[in-house]
Symmetry: C2
Subunit: 471 residues, 2 copies
C-alpha cells in the first residue's frame, strides 16, 4: 500500500530515519492494543511536531492512504488498530512539552506526555489534573483525549473532556487549526474541542492540548462499606449522593472480585459478603472526618452490614490497592479478559447486577463485576481463553446481551473505553438511524477520503457483528 | 415570505390557533431581544411538542423558509433575532415538563422551563443545578442551552454545558434525534450533545434536556475584599486559586461600578477604592469559616486594603445585591448599555484592565467594568445613547478594539453571551480561516438549506462590520 515513491516523500517530511519504522518486527509491535484483533500496518511514523503531522496527513490524504494516530496502545476498544493497513502515527515519542502555568491554572502538553505526569507536575503548584484512568501511568494524554478517558475520580471531578480548554489539531486534510483556547469560558462558535475529544482519532490528530487544572484538595479519607446484598449497595450509592455529600471516588467490587483479589494477594477484605463499596471523601481536613461519619450513617440506614473508616493513609492505600488488583487477579484463572464498560443510570445498578447474573448463568461464563459505581459505570469483565473457540462464541453472545441490556436500561454502550472496532455493530441500536447519520455527516464532511482512523466508531456494513477473535 | 398555503399547512401541524401568531402587534414583540437591532418575523409559532417542531421544521426546510428558535428573548448577542424574516419558534410556552429524578440525580426539562425553577425544584431534594446566569429568573433553559449560559457559580461549578447529559433535538431537516443520555459517562460516538449546546440554535431545535444535578452545598459564606489598586485585585485572584481554595463565586467591581451602585441604592460599599472582589466560599459548614480565613490571609498578603467577612446571611445578601444592581445602576446615566463578555486568561486580568482604561480614554466613552473575575470573564459595559449617532460610531470602534484586545491577550470573543449577530465579523480573527471553515462544514452538512437560525455565528460576507444600530 505504501510505494517506494510515497516513502521517499514521507522521509522528506520526517527527516530523522529513526522515526520512520519499516522493519517487519517494528510493524508487528504496532499491530495490537489492549483489545482484540491484530492488524499489521505498512508503515509507522513518529512525529514530534504539528508541521510533521500536517505534512504526513496532507500526503496521505492525497494518496488516500489510511492514518491511525496512536499513543501507548492501552486502548480497550481497538482505537489505534490499523484495521485497513496504512500508516500508524505513533505520538508516544512526542512528550517534550509539559508546561504548568499556575497563574492561569492550566497545563500545556504535547500528545505523548504520560497522563499521570501531568497531575504530578500540577501537584507541585498545589494544583490537580483530576482524570485518573487505571492506565494513567502508562497511557499518553493524546490517547486519553482521543478516547475521553474516565477513571474513579470521574464521580466528583468529571472525565478528560471536562478538563480540555483548547486543542491544536491537524485536520484530515492536513490543516493545522486551534480550537477553544486558554480561558475557562468560551462560547465562540461550535465547540470543536469537545467534538474532537472522544472522537477516537477519526476527526484529526491532536498535536497539543491546553488542560484546566484545579486547586488540589488538602486531605482525603477512605472507607469500606460492606453489604450482604448487592441490591442494598445500589441503594446506598443513591442515598449518599442525595444527602448533600459528594465522594471523590465510589467503587464497587462484587463477591467474585473480592475472592479473586484475596486469592491473588491477601489484603484482608471480608470474604463472606455480597459486595463492598470503597469510598473516598476529599476536601478540607476538618470537614472530611465529619463527612465520613455522615456517609457511614446513611449507608447503615439503608442496610450496610458494616462501615470501616481507614485509620490511616496506609490502610487507605491498602484498600485502593485491592481495587487496582482486581484486573490482574481475575486473569489468573484464564488468560483472556474482556473488559466491558457498558454504563447505566445510577438507579439501575441493582437491576443491572441482577441481569448480569442471569447472563452469566445463561451462557455459562466467568463474569466478574466491579467498577465506578457512583456514576453507573460498571466494568463487567468476562474471563475466558481465546483459544477455546466454542466458549468464545458464547462469550460473544454474552457481550452482545450486556450491550443490549445496558441500552434497554437507559444506559450507553460505552462509558469510558470508546467504541473503537468492537462496538460499531451496536451503534444504531443506541443512536437510531437518524442519530447515527448526523454523526456520519460530520465524519464525511471533515474527512471526505475517510483516511483518519477508518473502521472505528461507524459500522462498515449493515450486517457487521461482534467478533472477538480473528478467524 | 409565508404564503396563505404555507400558513394553512402549518395550522395542520399546530392546530391550536392560539399558538399561531400572525397579528402585526404580536410579530413586533418578537422583533428584538436584549441586544441590538430589530427584525419583524413573518410568523410566530408556539410549539409544545417535538412532533409539532418536527412538522414545522420539515415544512420550512421544504419551502426553504428560515426558522428562529426563541425562549424569553434575554439574549445579549442577538441569538433569536429573525434577521432574514420567516418563522420565530417561540418555545417559552413549552414549560410543562420539569421532573427531578433524585435517584439518578438528573432533571428532565422541556425547553420553556425557567432556568431558576430547575435549581429551585432540585433544592427540595438536597440537589443543585449550578448554572446561574443573571437572567436565570426570566430566561428559559432552552435559551440557556442554545447559548451555553454561564454565571458567577461558573468558577467552581462550570457552565450550562457541563450539566447537560442528553438532549432531544429536531434536526434542521425535521428528524427527531436523541443525543447522549441519562448517564454521567458516555463516549458512544461523537459528542453531539456538547456540539448542540452553545450552537445558538443553528444546528437544530432542542425539545428536551436531561440535566445533571449535584449535591447541594450545606453552607456558604461571603466576603468583600477591598483594593486600592485593581492590579492587586488581579494578583489576589490568582493567589487564591493556587492556594488550594476554590471559591464558588469571585466577582469583581471596578470603581465606576461601585460609584454607580451607591448612587442608585446605598448599600454601604466603600467609595474611595479602586476595586472590590466579592467572594463566596461554599461547602461544609465547619470548613468554610477556616477557608474564609485562608482567603483573607492570601488577599492581604498580595496587597488587599481590607477584607470584610459578612457577619450573617443578611449582610451577605446585601453584598450580592450590590453586584446585581450594577446593570440597572449604570443605565441611569444614559439609556443604552452594551454589555460585552470578551474573556481572557485569568493572568491577563490586570493587563486587560489597563487596556480597557486606554480604550475608554481614546474613544471618550463611558466604560464600566465588572464581572466574573475568577474565570477571566469580565463584563466591560459601555453606557451610551443609541440616538447619538456620532457617539455610537465611537462606541462601535471601541467595541471592536475590546474584541481585538481580548484575542491578542489569548482570550476569546465571547465567554458566555454567544456570537449571535453582533460578533460574526470577528470570528475569523479568532479562529483563522481553516478553523472557521471546519465549523461551517458542520453547519452546511447538517442544514443544507441554511434554514436554522441563519445570520448567526457565521459572517455572511467578507466585509461585514460591527453595526450596533440599524440605519
Amino acid at each position: 500500500m505504501i510505494t517506494d515513491e510515497m516513502l521517499r516523500q514521507l522521509r522528506k517530511v520526517i527527516t530523522s530515519s529513526a522515526r520512520v519504522l519499516t522493519d517487519k518486527a517494528d510493524l508487528v509491535s504496532y499491530s495490537y492494543d489492549a483489545s482484540f484483533g491484530s492488524y499489521i500496518p505498512d508503515l509507522v511514523l513518529q512525529p514530534i511536531s504539528a508541521e510533521e503531522v500536517s505534512g504526513v496527513v496532507k500526503a496521505a490524504n492525497h494518496w488516500k492512504v489510511p492514518i491511525y494516530p496512536r499513543g501507548r496502545g492501552t486502548s480497550l476498544s481497538g482505537g489505534p488498530l490499523p484495521v485497513h493497513g496504512g500508516i500508524v502515527l505513533d505520538c508516544s515519542q512526542w512528550n517534550q512539552k509539559l508546561i504548568i502555568d499556575s497563574d492561569d491554572t492550566v497545563a500545556i502538553v504535547s500528545p505523548g506526555v504520560i497522563t499521570a505526569e501531568i497531575d504530578h507536575a500540577a501537584s507541585k503548584h498545589g494544583l490537580m489534573y483530576p482524570p485518573d484512568p487505571s492506565s494513567a501511568h502508562v497511557s499518553t494524554i493524546g490517547g486519553n483525549l482521543a478516547e475521553n478517558a474516565g477513571g474513579p475520580r470521574g464521580l466528583k471531578y468529571g472525565v478528560t473532556k471536562d478538563y480540555v480548554l483548547g486543542l491544536e489539531v491537524v485536520t484530515p486534510e492536513g490543516e493545522i487549526i486551534k480550537t477553544g483556547g486558554r480561558t475557562i469560558k468560551n462560547v465562540t462558535g461550535y465547540d470543536l474541542t469537545k467534538l474532537i475529544v472522544g472522537s477516537e482519532g477519526t476527526l484529526g490528530v491532536i498535536t497539543e492540548a491546553t488542560l484546566k487544572l484545579i486547586p488540589r484538595p488538602q486531605a482525603a479519607q477512605t472507607m469500606m462499606v460492606i453489604f450482604d446484598d448487592i441490591v442494598d449497595a445500589g441503594k446506598a450509592i443513591s442515598s449518599v449522593l442525595t444527602s448533600g455529600l459528594l465522594p471523590s471516588k465510589m467503587e464497587i467490587m462484587d463477591q467474585s472480585s473480592i475472592v479473586a483479589v484475596e486469592a491473588y494477594e491477601p489484603i484482608g477484605l471480608p470474604l463472606d459478603v455480597d459486595a463492598i463499596i470503597l469510598i473516598e471523601m476529599d476536601g478540607h481536613p476538618i470537614a472530611i472526618g465529619d463527612e465520613c461519619e455522615q456517609v457511614k450513617k446513611v449507608c447503615l440506614a439503608v442496610g450496610a452490614k458494616e462501615v470501616i473508616i481507614a485509620a490511616d493513609d496506609e490502610s487507605a492505600s491498602r484498600l485502593w490497592k485491592a481495587r487496582k488488583l482486581v484486573s490482574p487477579a481475575i486473569v489468573r484463572k484464564k488468560p483472556t479478559k474482556i473488559s466491558e464498560d457498558a454504563t447505566i443510570p445510577r438507579s439501575k445498578i441493582p437491576e443491572m447486577f441482577k441481569r448480569l447474573k442471569e447472563i452469566k448463568e445463561k451462557y455459562d461464563i466467568d463474569l466478574v463485576v466491579f467498577g465506578h459505581a457512583g456514576d453507573g459505570n460498571l466494568h463487567p469483565n468476562i474471563i475466558t481463553d481465546k483459544r477455546d473457540r466454542e466458549e468464545m462464541r458464547r462469550v460473544e453472545k454474552a457481550v452482545e446481551e450486556i450491550f443490549a441490556t445496558a441500552i434497554q436500561l437507559g444506559g450507553t454502550l460505552s462509558g469510558e473505553h470508546g467504541i473503537g472496532t468492537m462496538k460499531t455493530p451496536f451503534m444504531e441500536m443506541e443512536l437510531g438511524e437518524a442519530g447515527l447519520d448526523m454523526m456520519k455527516r460530520i465524519k464525511l464532511v471533515w474527512d471526505p477520503n475517510n483516511i483518519m482512523n477508518p473502521g472505528k466508531i461507524f459500522p462498515e456494513s449493515k450486517d457487521q457483528r461482534l467478533v472477538l477473535i480473528n478467524d
